[in-house]
């Protein structure tokens, strides 16, 4: 561990960048998000952990409206999430998303994957977008793969490209939905390293993950979810050493036993 865990209040003042108020969601009879209230400050890195089925992925996906919510309110940078159409597309451009299964555009080269958004959504000139893409690919260490297709890259490389693709939109906040869960063990660190570097640069991040090492190293705050509720939140240090709730103690006991 090289960095000190930072207190959760270190982020700049003013209104939160992302705020969820009384958010509820059902999948049929299943109440997946139960009255979720959450505020994420500018520059803050929040790690969401919890057992599977706890609603953490749904929470993450709701923030850029890949999942709709039944009631409550989600705001990004002060603006309520628009329902559909152009306004929603514009908001999504400000919210970067990294998926568990990478979801690189399979028919486009690595370079095109990164330039597509800047050119088609932001109207950037293709030369400029290419320079931006190459610098981002270099930053995540896959610039030498720029001309290949996604299927020719390893999972770890694909996920780093996905991070570069999201960064190319210059998002205000980055969402990571279990970014390392589909990776072979030896590739997890290369992705986590890229995420830690991003966190250190001050990117606002909401990360759903099972990687406790990342939470300890990079998170300002850990949120523990179970059964669709936020059960507990604390600094990583506090959470991992002195979990308060029985659910969290039970969960940590199971995953940290080995």
């Amino acid at each position: 561990m090289t960095s000190e865990p930072q207190p959760s209040t270190s982020a700049s003042s003013g209104e939160p960048l992302v705020s969820l108020k009384h958010v509820n969601k059902h999948f049929g009879d299943l109440h997946v998000l139960k009255d979720i209230n959450l505020e994420v400050a500018r520059g803050e890195v929040v790690v969401v952990i919890g057992p599977s089925g706890s609603g953490k992925s749904t929470l993450c996906r709701a923030i850029n409206r890949l999942e709709t919510i039944d009631d409550g309110e989600i705001r990004v940078d002060g603006k309520a999430l628009p329902a559909e159409g152009k306004a929603l597309a514009k908001l999504r451009a400000d919210v970067g998303m990294v998926f568990q299964s990478f979801n690189l555009f399979a028919h486009k080269s690595i370079l095109e994957n990164v330039t597509l958004g800047p050119v088609k959504v932001k109207g950037m000139k293709s030369g400029e977008a290419k320079d931006l893409a190459m610098s981002l690919l270099k930053r995540v260490g896959v610039d030498n793969q720029a001309q290949k297709l996604p299927a020719q890259l390893s999972g770890g490389q694909q996920q780093r490209v996905a991070i570069a693709r999201a960064l190319a939109m210059r998002p205000k906040v980055m969402l990571f939905d279990e970014p390392t869960s589909a990776l072979d063990p030896e590739m997890i660190n290369e992705v986590l390293d890229a995420m830690v570097a991003l966190a250190k640069e001050g990117m606002t991040m909401i990360v759903v993950t099972h990687e406790m090492g990342f939470a300890r190293k990079a998170a300002d705050r850990v949120i523990f979810m179970a059964d669709g509720q936020i059960v507990e939140q604390a600094t990583p240090e506090e959470f991992f050493t002195h979990p308060k709730s029985d659910r969290a103690k039970d969960f940590l006991g199971k995953i940290l036993a080995h």
Partner: protein
């Protein structure tokens, strides 16, 4: 055998097949354009467009082609005086293309939709996540992959279209292959079976390369995942 060869002196068989190829060519273009539009309707988030797409497909896919083609001549032209050109015979030719296009567009739509099903949901989510709205996401991400996943079913639609172009006979297109075959059988009753076999073989020769080409193309163009 000499008898048989005289058929080709009396009747211009290649010209008749050429008419079917032309019918197929133009109908394929229009059916692809209309079918793509219908597929867009059916995958769009707008319920009324989905309904229009589904209604079109169900009506045209389930109506016999002969009825559609005959309606072109007897209904559109005969009753409603719809003319696509001043030229009397060319008008029937174009009406047949119209009927073939409207009918096969329904199948093209369904073939493309089967292609859309080969594209993982994550592709659409990733497209939306970088801020692409429905149409750009469809045009840049979904449809290019869907077409590549739909080469084989689209090839099947094209093969059906080639053979179905003979139904243009029901639309007063006298120059195409099955019309000529009918004329030949009428005047050369001594050669009924060779005449049938000639036309059957003609279509087999046209269709086989299309089948081989689509099989090759569907492998070549498949999106690596």
């Amino acid at each position: 055998m000499e008898n048989y060869l005289t058929l080709f002196e009396t009747y211009d068989v290649p010209a008749a097949f050429w008419a079917n190829i032309q019918l197929t060519f133009w109908a394929a273009i229009w059916a692809t354009l209309l079918g793509t539009l219908l597929a867009l309707f059916r995958i769009s988030p707008i319920a009324s467009l989905q309904f229009v797409g589904a209604a079109y497909v169900n009506i045209f896919r389930n109506t016999p082609l002969t009825i559609i083609i005959a309606f072109g001549v007897l209904g559109l032209f005969g009753q409603l005086q719809v003319s696509l050109t001043e030229d009397f015979n060319l008008n029937f030719f174009r009406l047949a293309i119209l009927g073939l296009s409207l009918y096969h567009a329904a199948f093209v739509c369904e073939a493309i939709r089967s292609g859309v099903n080969t594209v993982p949901l994550g592709q659409a989510e990733a497209a939306r996540a970088i801020g692409l709205s429905f149409l750009p996401a469809a045009r840049l991400v979904i449809l290019p992959q869907a077409f590549r996943g739909a080469v084989a079913p689209l090839g099947n639609v094209l093969i059906a279209l080639i053979k179905n172009s003979t139904v243009a006979a029901a639309g007063s297109v006298a120059i195409e292959a099955s019309s000529l075959m009918k004329t030949m059988i009428e005047f050369r009753g001594d050669l009924v079976i060779p005449i049938f076999l000639t036309f059957a073989l003609g279509f087999v020769i046209i269709v086989i390369p299309v089948g081989l080409l689509t099989t090759w193309a569907s492998r070549k163009l498949a999106v690596a995942r």
